[in-house]
Subunit: 152 residues, 2 copies
DNA sequence: ACAAATATGTTATAATATAACATTAATATT
DNA sequence: AATATTAATGTTATATTATAACATATTTGT
């Protein structure tokens, strides 16, 4: 299977998962939202909002910043994508059905992201919160560095 | 000791630590840098770059965005302050001499920050990096929520 | 058919950050 | 001390990221 074919199937799979999840939760995955999600999955790494806007404009020339940001908000709120806070960038979620505290390995060289889940993180968040009488709401955990491929 | 007095002493202590650290490392804590650091420590919570710029302008009306961002860069690079990526905000470092992987409890209500260090985080970063053949470089770990004081 | 809620369109602007180049100040070299 | 080199600051302009506010269209519930 070629690299392009693989990307296509990853994207198709993500779209199917998104549709299923919206179906279950009574959310509307409109044409616009589906288009944007598809654009997000089209590249292997992360994407920037205005790059996405440029792509969307090719399909719908009337698209403007609020178009993209509103759509991103919907996708984030419903766990279909994530925002990488340290990069102001966005990435499709690899397992939208089962979300604990996730974190990201971000390659500075190739822009690829590894999305990870670990109970250890949940434990650290829980214990540090307890120690500080803190009620956690949103966790941001991002590790930037160099990936396996880029080491050579 | 009043709240204001306490803040003053926290700020003075931070300034002394910063001076000591720059002395040790041969860094120049210029007048501008010291002024900005003082402004950062003046409020108990986090600060935004342009708010800082407004404050600085009261002292030096010729200050402009690059003035503040360059100074913030210096202070970040040398571990005297941190940037909170999820807020685009800045905060003085509470222990600039001994920096492992630190993380932050951010209160959404009162903007106060708790800076924490934990070996558990180092361990999670180390083990997940090893598992993924990833060389970590910069860690962002921020927990937003509600602090003890704001719970009532 | 109508009202209400949701989604999208549109204009304008706010908030965050950096590039590029000029000048000044500090440090090192002769 | 004069000169070269580097580091810091000043200055103008612009890039990047994001939202407010209001208008219109579409969907959903009654
Ligand atoms: Zn995810
Ligand atoms: Zn890579
Ligand atoms: Zn610190
Ligand atoms: Zn609080």
């Amino acid at each position: 299977m070629s690299k392009r074919q693989k990307n296509l199937s990853v994207s198709a799979e993500a779209l199917r998962k998104a549709e299923a999840l919206c179906e279950i939760n009574g959310l509307k995955l409109t044409k616009l939202r589906k288009q944007v999600l598809k654009l997000i999955w089209r590249k292997p790494g992360y994407v920037k909002a205005y790059d996405l806007l440029d792509e969307l404009k090719k399909i719908d020339p009337s698209a403007k910043p609020p178009t993209i940001y509103r759509t991103l908000d919907f996708l984030i709120e419903n766990g279909l994508i994530h925002k990488l806070q340290s990069l102001n960038a966005f990435i499709g979620c690899h397992h939208p059905h089962e979300h604990n505290e996730c974190y990201f390995l971000i390659c500075d060289s190739c822009q690829k992201i590894e999305e990870c889940c670990s109970k250890k993180i949940n434990n650290v968040v829980a214990s540090t919160s307890k120690n500080n009488n803190f009620i956690p709401n949103k966790v941001t955990f991002e590790i930037a560095g160099t990936c396996q491929n880029c080491l050579n």
